[in-house]
Symmetry: C2
Subunit: 87 residues, 2 copies
Amino acid sequence: MYVILVYDVGEKRVGKMLKLCRRYLHWIQNSVFEGEITEVKLRELEHGAKEIMRQEEDSVIIFKSRELRWLEKKIIGREKNELDNFL
Amino acid sequence: MYVILVYDVGEKRVGKMLKLCRRYLHWIQNSVFEGEITEVKLRELEHGAKEIMRQEEDSVIIFKSRELRWLEKKIIGREKNELDNFL
C-alpha cells in the first residue's frame, strides 16, 4: 500500500512526529511524507502518532492508495535534496 | 481528476498561495489542499503557483489520481471545521 501522510501538530510535538514518521516513510516536504507501507506498519505508525498528538489540537491526514501507479506526483520548484533525509 | 496539493513557501508568499489554491481546491490542513479538478484548471493553478513562488526556495507537490475512489483518506485528531473554508 502506498501512503501520503501530512501532519499539523503543535510546535512542541513537531520533532517527535517528524522522527516517528521518518521511521516508516520518506520525508518529501515540510510535514509531508510518502512511501510504501504494510497495513501492520501503518497501524503501528498511527498508534505512535496518537501517542504524540493532542487530539483536540493536532491533526494527521493519511491518504492511502492500493497501488503507487494510481498516483502521479509532480514537483514544482525546489526538490528536497537527498541529504535532507539524513538531517 | 482528483488531486492533493501541498505547498511549502516562504512566509511572505503564504497568503497569496493560500488564496490561489482556494480558488481551485478545498483546504484540508495547514498547507494541504485536495479536490476534483480538470486538466485545464490544474494547468491554470500550476501557472499561478509558479508566478507566486521562488523556484529556488519554495516547492509545491501535486499528487494526481485519475479517480477519487483509488484514494482513501483517514483523519486522526482534529478535523478542520467547515467554517475554516470561509476564513
